[in-house]
Symmetry: C2
Subunit: 258 residues, 2 copies
């Protein structure tokens, strides 16, 4: 609860200002727990060092703080190091649509390259840290590192593929299928990051989930209630336990949504 806990662990950490702590140690990719999923995943040690020199550490964002605003000039992409964020995109006059949730190791801002401006606003859902990767330097570096370039292509392609999944979900799935798919997807993302796929804490509100899935808050709440009655999941606030993964997967993939 108190910040002192971490400080007690040793004098070394006390000497460091928050957000700049150990720029030579903790903030390096080499020692980052998410390296195996992140952009530089396939780099050799030497290239990794090079890569490290271009990324910039940012002071942590607190809950609700903006990483960047929709339309602001594109300067680079960000890799999530800890915490989670959401992307909101608004259309002329219209309301905001939540288009992405970002977890550690994921790349934020790739959709800004084309028009040299970010396609949506990105906001921290909880205290979060990100690594800033200036795009021009990344591009230059990728010229000499085919592996890095390939990974960048793969990241973009992956996001396109996930967008397609989302389009399918929004176009043809029922509320039940959408929420089931959402839980399965989150579960999977936690699993990949070494956390339990059965028990996790969501950092977003029901309203966020509804906005993301194209459903009203009330519907999210009702469907979740139904899932609990059916023994598929147990939810206490934002704490989620998946009780029957198989059935949940089946619900998410049921034929003929609508």
């Amino acid at each position: 609860m108190s910040r002192d806990d971490s400080d007690k662990s040793g004098k070394a950490s006390m000497a460091m200002a928050p957000g700049q702590c150990s720029p030579l140690e903790e903030s390096r990719c080499q020692s980052c727990g998410h390296r195996s999923l992140c952009l530089p995943l396939a780099l050799g040690l030497e290239d990794l060092d090079q890569f490290d020199t271009i990324i910039r550490r940012r002071p942590p964002l607190r809950k609700g703080e903006l990483l960047f605003r929709q339309g602001s000039p594109f300067t680079g992409v960000y890799a999530v190091r800890s915490g989670s964020l959401k992307q909101l995109t608004a259309e002329g006059g219209g309301e905001e649509q939540l288009t992405h949730f970002y977890l550690p190791s994921e790349l934020v801002g790739l959709d800004g390259i084309d028009e040299a401006a970010y396609a949506g606003s990105v906001i921290a859902l909880e205290t979060s840290t990100v690594c800033e990767i200036p795009f021009d330097r990344l591009d230059t570096l990728s010229e000499r590192m085919p592996v890095l370039r390939a990974q960048l292509y793969r990241c973009m392609s992956k996001e396109m593929r996930e967008d397609l999944r989302m389009i399918r979900l929004l176009s043809h799935k029922t509320a039940d299928q959408r929420l089931a798919t959402f839980f399965i997807s989150m579960s999977d993302r936690f699993r990949r990051r070494g956390y339990s796929p059965y028990t996790f804490r969501l950092s977003m509100t029901r309203a966020d989930i509804g906005n993301y899935l194209g459903l009203a808050v009330e519907t999210v709440s009702r469907v979740l209630g139904r899932f609990q009655q059916q023994g598929l999941v147990a939810a206490a606030g934002r704490e989620i336990h998946i009780l029957d993964m198989d059935v949940l997967i089946a619900v998410g993939e049921e034929k003929g949504g609508r």
Copy 2:
């Protein structure tokens, strides 16, 4: 029905196998009318020649023919040279979702990089020709051509941005807004390609449009009927005339879809 028909048109064409006709002239990027929108748009003449050597011409696809199937190994991307195509993606057991329409100069298959397999099946909506661009060679070439690399990034980023637009459309817009947005978008794409933004012929069926927009065919037909009554568009089969662009745009952007 008989293949002889095409042969009758003249001796010159008889000397050339279909799909290989004039590989040195018509099929070159330099003489391609879509160069200003296509991948190599910013290349100098020398680089353009280089680029030309890696692209492969394909025999034209006839209406309904498959360019590639979902899940088949990713080998490269395709630039549409003439005609139009649609991408269909299916989920385990579920029905197919139409996720993209492709017009000349657009790049097909970018979403296949990540998993080394194409994310959806792509089918010609009419007789169409495409340029095949093997990805490994494109990647190698992009190493030496920063401009080409930048354009490739931009293409991918653009597709991501368009996917976001689609997600917003599917998540929050009414049937009227969806169809209005669709017409505006098609109009814009025709305009960019040098055709009239007010009068054009759609190559897809109402069912395709419905599938793409997340609507039943009947709804597409009804809304279109309403648009005609209101004097926004005139439609004769697949021939579309936009009569009141401004109002149509306004309908597409109305606040609070649902």
